[in-house]
């Protein structure tokens, strides 16, 4: 089982990345700002109050020991308590993460479902108008600030045409909660089609706004990779055998060509999370990014560390999943246990 060995190695690397990430976050939080206790209590606190909080948070311990505490907390899945509200950061993130997950999954779905066919079309009609169109889309998507597209969509669809809701996940008068926190999934399981419809309507604008950048990249890479694959002899053979174009394109050419866009999707995922911070704020999406922004403006250190850590872990998990997918698509990875 070479593939199992490959995956084990990837999982171990991922763990190492997460540990490295925890060092970075710990350094930012403990070394950059000076005194977290002073920051949490504000300028009016007496030195005694600050000392008491320092004691309580373990800030008087040597740095390495503080990191040990932080890491052992992380290992138990404990992100600490908010310095401001005393709420558990775990709880806060568990409450807000599903909204972000739903938004990000929908975004990826849109980006792949639109981006891959666009890339295939551009490769099929290379140097003709679909190719030019895709090139234009790729450039616009790369230079469009995420808040610009978000505001544009909000104004156009929300205010001018008044066809779609512009804030939140559900109408204010609609109450709904389910086991997973993903409203689309939960409402389906509960058979509440009215909720499902509203959830999808609310999802459409933010996920479209967030997907543009990724979609453009996927289209561009798919195009390049389809053209690359089309130069192989077996594609020429398929053509010579008179296999229908659509079968050749989608069955023989796209499958190997699908690997590079997936790898890019993994790498792009970090900037997608970054974009979520902007998009969630604009559409008042009650997700983890919006929670993170609030924590940042309130200088809530533990919450900030928690959000950055979970964002990083999210990135690592998505990239692991993509590795598995690549293994399924590309037998060379499965057999030889490494990416071609």
């Amino acid at each position: 089982m070479e593939f199992a060995a490959f995956l084990t190695r990837r999982v171990l690397w991922s763990l190492l990345v997460l540990i490295g990430l925890s060092v970075v976050i710990f350094l930012i939080a403990r070394v950059v700002p000076g005194d977290p206790a002073r920051m949490a209590l504000g300028p009016t606190a007496t030195p005694e109050m600050v000392d008491a909080l320092r004691e309580k948070l373990g800030l008087n311990l040597p740095l390495i020991q503080q990191y040990g505490l932080f890491l052992s907390g992380l290992a138990e899945g404990e992100l600490g308590r908010s310095l401001l509200t005393e709420q558990s950061v775990n709880n806060d993130i568990a409450q807000t993460f599903p909204a972000t997950l739903e938004l990000v999954l929908t975004t990826i779905l849109i980006a792949v479902v639109l981006g891959v066919p666009l890339g295939v079309a551009a490769a099929r009609w290379k140097d003709s108008w679909p190719d030019t169109l895709v090139r234009a889309i790729a450039i616009v998507s790369a230079v469009m600030p995420s808040f610009f597209i978000a505001l544009l969509l909000q104004v156009l669809a929300g205010y001018v045409l008044q066809v779609l809701p512009t804030t939140g996940r559900l109408p204010p008068d609609m109450e709904f909660s389910g086991p997973t926190g993903l409203i689309v999934l939960d409402s389906l399981m509960a058979g509440r089609l009215d909720v499902l419809g509203e959830a999808l309507r609310h999802l459409l604008l933010p996920s479209l706004a967030l997907s543009l950048a990724t979609m453009g990249q996927i289209a561009r890479i798919t195009r390049a990779s389809m053209i690359d694959v089309s130069r192989h002899d077996y594609i020429e053979a398929a053509r010579a055998f008179g296999i229908p174009t659509s079968v050749r394109l989608f069955k023989y050419q796209l499958r190997p060509a699908f690997v590079p866009p997936m790898t890019i999707l993994g790498l792009e995922f970090a900037s997608l999370i970054g974009g979520a911070f902007v998009v969630e704020l604009i559409f008042a999406w009650p997700g983890m990014a919006a929670y993170g922004i609030r924590a940042i403006t309130q200088k809530d250190l533990n919450a900030i560390m928690g959000v950055v850590m979970v964002s990083g872990a999210f990135f690592v998990v998505v990239n692991l999943l993509i590795d598995v997918l690549v293994g399924v698509l590309d037998p060379r990875v499965r057999i030889r246990g490494r990416r071609a």
Partner: protein, 288 residues
């Protein structure tokens, strides 16, 4: 110069550049923005509006001949502030890249040429950096330190070098095993000579393309940061801050947010077209 004499390298490059419309348009946009930013105090109609100027009688004026981009919520000329805002965006991109590109290149050369533990340490560091969204990093630093341009530049630069390291690493790895490197080694050339005189010149075109594309991305990240209120602080004009302030008056006073947003798009477009054009010109397809 006679017709049979080969064109010098510089001339050849200039010819290829001038024949590439994407690169030329991109370079023109970048040049226009840079000049406008440098000359801002002299070319803008109301340079005093770049600070905390207030003229409430003139607030929310739509675009006109006097105020090309209209006025904002305290009556300042938007066009003036957009041009001054370009200064912040371009400074951010310039400083981040002047730190990140040389450092990232050096790390890539070292990892690619020496391999072994050097490679493992450097490349694992880049793996960690990849998992942190630069915007989130900048947000976190702005939160724990203070929201300022310097902190933003620092936070982004700390992550950004890794992209260049990955790029230069892969190029160096391919070059390392070539015969002329072996020849240089056999002749006893120093490591520094091999790294900087033999390998580095092969990376220059890739670096140029990547740096140009990066400038656009860094500007977008900086704009997002200040859009969220954690970039350079008012009253210094900043494009992202202007968009955020103007967004409260959407859709009625659209020019207050849409035109600064358009300016960000414009300058980012310039760098992207330039990078795209250079990529075609140098034929380095893999660089993104």
């Amino acid at each position: 110069m006679s017709a049979t004499e080969p064109l010098s390298n510089a001339w050849q490059n200039w010819y290829r550049f001038s024949r590439n419309p994407t690169a030329v348009v991109g370079a023109a946009i970048v040049l226009l923005c840079v000049l406008a930013a440098i000359l801002a105090p002299w070319i803008t109609p109301f340079p005093e509006h770049a600070g905390s100027f207030v003229d409430f009688r003139n607030r929310h004026q739509p675009p006109s001949l006097e105020h090309w981009f209209g006025t904002d919520n305290v009556g300042r000329d938007n066009f003036t502030r957009v041009i001054f805002g370009l200064r912040v965006s371009l400074t951010l991109a310039f400083v981040v890249l002047i730190v990140a590109v040389p450092f990232g290149t050096l790390m890539g050369l070292l990892a690619g040429y020496f391999g072994g533990w050097t490679e493992i340490v450097i490349m694992r560091l880049t793996d960690i950096a990849l998992a942190i969204p630069p915007l989130v990093m900048a947000l976190a630093v702005a939160a724990v330190a203070a929201p300022s341009l310097t902190n933003a530049m620092l936070a982004i630069a700390v992550l950004w070098w890794t992209w260049h390291t990955r790029l230069i690493f892969s190029i160096t790895r391919q070059i390392r095993s070539q015969e002329y490197i072996e020849a240089a080694e056999t002749l006893g050339a120093s490591k520094a000579h091999i790294l900087f005189r033999e390998i580095l010149p092969n990376c220059v075109s890739a670096i140029a393309v990547k740096t140009s594309l990066d400038a656009g991305f860094v500007i977008l990240i900086g704009a997002s940061l200040s859009f969220l209120g954690l970039g350079i602080q008012p009253p210094t004009p900043d494009l992202g801050t202007m968009v955020a302030a103007g967004a409260e008056y959407l859709p009625d006073f659209w020019w207050e947010s849409m035109l600064p947003a358009g300016a960000i798009l414009f300058v980012a477009l310039g760098f992207n077209l330039l990078g795209d054009g250079l990529r075609d010109m140098f034929d380095v397809e893999d660089v993104r």
